[in-house]
Subunit: 371 residues, 2 copies
């Protein structure tokens, strides 16, 4: 029998990990409640004792993650509801994005509200990676200053890149930027000292959409000059073995078809990239439908979210996509596939990046409290 690597789920449960688990549970219960719950309501919802909840809540308030509003008689329309809520002045996330034709930065607070947003338009293809990242570093500095001016402490930063990202933030290849083996963290000196996540833009946009929408399992497809996808399963982004999942742009739709930048023939990107949609929407919709049917047949995902340049084009594309899904998805007669436009539009990846930082705090408040 092979020896297995021990995973987190196989680690022993100790008192310290029980506390960490329950801190996260209390924080998430407060965060996900429709109204501001009392300590007693959190105890009832979680099954923890009131004494335990109170001690954990005290720690979360002291660490700046929760705020508590005293119950008080109604004295005016503007008075906040009594109870516990995420602290909008607590740790915040810095979301960054580099794409083919813009740089962007935003600051998101712990409640998910965007407190600051800067977008700088300009074609990044003629610019060297070092120069592009220097410009982004400047943008990040402005965002940090804006956060500081509002009294927000940044818990970390995350950068969305249209490419394949390896461990340590190394961008192996970003074909539409012309990047190869770019050591991103080394080229963002202004962010030194801040935890930095570098990830694929479709992955982060999918996380943004996860926060914005109601679905916990969906495929997010980002249509720009390239096409990427983020696969969200049961509320978690599925990254694949090396973090390179979601390369739907290079799924073959016509085996002997148009040559692609990647060296293959008939990749989806050649039929349904931004220019191809403009040139022939029917052909693009059919190609998208063929590739999406493959995803549904393989993964049994019932919801497809079209983002980026696809969102405004969906009315033109829907019939063609749905016709292929109806023909090619084996279970189409048993369960319909829902197709919708992304809620966040062009900000999805930048917001998803900031959200990745916020999530890391919300998922493990004990780590934040011990910093």
């Amino acid at each position: 029998m092979p020896t297995r690597i021990m995973t987190a789920a196989q680690a022993p449960v100790r008192q310290s990990s029980v506390r960490a688990h329950n801190l996260a549970l209390v924080l998430q219960t407060a965060a996900n409640s429709a109204d501001r719950p009392s300590r007693a309501a959190i105890a009832a919802a979680t099954g923890l004792t009131r004494a335990t909840v109170s001690a954990l809540v005290d720690d979360l308030i002291a660490g700046g993650l929760l705020t508590e509003h005293d119950p008080a008689p109604r004295t005016g329309a503007g008075r906040p509801a009594a109870g516990l809520a995420l602290n909008a002045d607590g740790p915040a996330g810095l979301g960054l994005e580099i794409n083919v034709d813009y740089l962007a930065a935003c600051v998101m607070d712990l409640t998910g509200a965007v407190r600051h947003r800067i977008v700088s338009h300009g074609d990044q293809r003629p610019v060297s990676p070092a120069a592009a990242l220097a410009a982004l570093d400047t943008l990040a500095d402005q965002a940090r200053a804006a956060a500081a001016a509002e009294g927000l402490t940044l818990a970390g930063a995350a950068l969305a890149v249209p490419g394949l990202v390896a461990a340590g933030g190394l961008v192996r290849v970003a074909p539409n930027l012309g990047w190869q083996d770019v050591d991103v963290p080394a080229l963002l000196p202004g962010l030194a000292g801040l935890p930095l996540i570098v990830d694929n833009e479709a992955n982060l946009a999918a996380l943004g959409e996860l926060r914005a929408g109601d679905e916990q399992t969906f495929l997010y497809v980002s249509g720009e000059i390239g096409i990427g996808a983020g696969i969200v399963l049961d509320g978690e982004l599925y990254r694949g073995g090396r973090g390179w999942s979601g390369e739907i742009g290079h799924v073959t739709v016509h085996p002997d078809g148009r040559p692609c930048r990647c060296g293959a023939n008939g990749c989806l990107e050649q039929y349904a990239g931004q220019e191809a949609v403009a040139a022939d929407a029917d052909l693009a919709a059919s190609a998208l439908g063929i590739a999406l049917a493959a995803v549904v047949n393989l993964l049994d995902i019932g919801v497809i979210v079209l983002g980026g340049a696809y969102a405004p084009e969906l009315p033109r594309l829907r019939d063609g996509i749905e016709a292929e899904l109806g023909r090619r998805v084996l279970t189409a007669g048993l369960a319909p596939v829902t197709l919708r436009a992304a809620a966040l539009g062009a900000d999805a990846a930048m917001r998803g990046a900031a959200d990745a930082v916020i999530r890391s705090v919300r998922d493990d408040p004990a780590a934040w409290l011990s910093r």
Copy 2:
């Protein structure tokens, strides 16, 4: 902010769940050790105290899940090593399979050894679902009698079916058997009283392969008259939203190609099903390569296991498949894809079914102990 459904990970940690967690941890540590570990070795490996480990081990022995051999001086070659091991006479799993041309049953003990195996050949297509399942019920009875004769108690049964299975064991459609909406548990009265899992054959074969091999993330492709796949991610089978993942046989490889039973054109099954491989192995390999490249581009899976009728054909298919993977996988230049034949051959689904029962005991021994 949307209200989320509370998942198991969000449930509070109580003493009873700590005990359940640690029981599973101790059992799995004993199961996955290369040699029979002592109580002290398990304490060292898990980080639990020796007193805690001893109490948990006592419960696992009393419940028939572990056996303990006393340390003793070496007196002969046949003497078992001292220490703890899974109990080969503990709870066992009944694995069942119905396929196009055979019925099968096996009994697997807690250590994963097949203790009994019956295969009954015969074309199931002309037989009604009720008659086929009645014959399987008889086979299951024989296997239960064989298990009882060896003093084994069955913890449950699992049945592998080449089709789409819905909740409650309802087979929505099994195209190659000609089944539609068959209530399997109702047609297996001999199994009444035993927990019964009904699942897709490629899913269960993938579980069998997971047990037999070293990889924790792979795509298992089952090539018979139909083609199915099981997706194993980080040691877990990915079932999809409704359990209908892995329908790789209906991924489009030639959009305007051969008509398929399912109503679409150009499905993989029409180019790489068992008859198609016999007719033109080169065309089959190319079609398989196109579909597998889509899987790798989407899921970033580095290992593909070919099972069923594909396993013996792999030498004829390998070059054609690898040529397409090399051309069409975006990351082919960064990380190779490994292609190998399944270890278990034709027994994979039946063994995977029995293994699913065994796993349910090994993953949650507390539930077994409280039965």
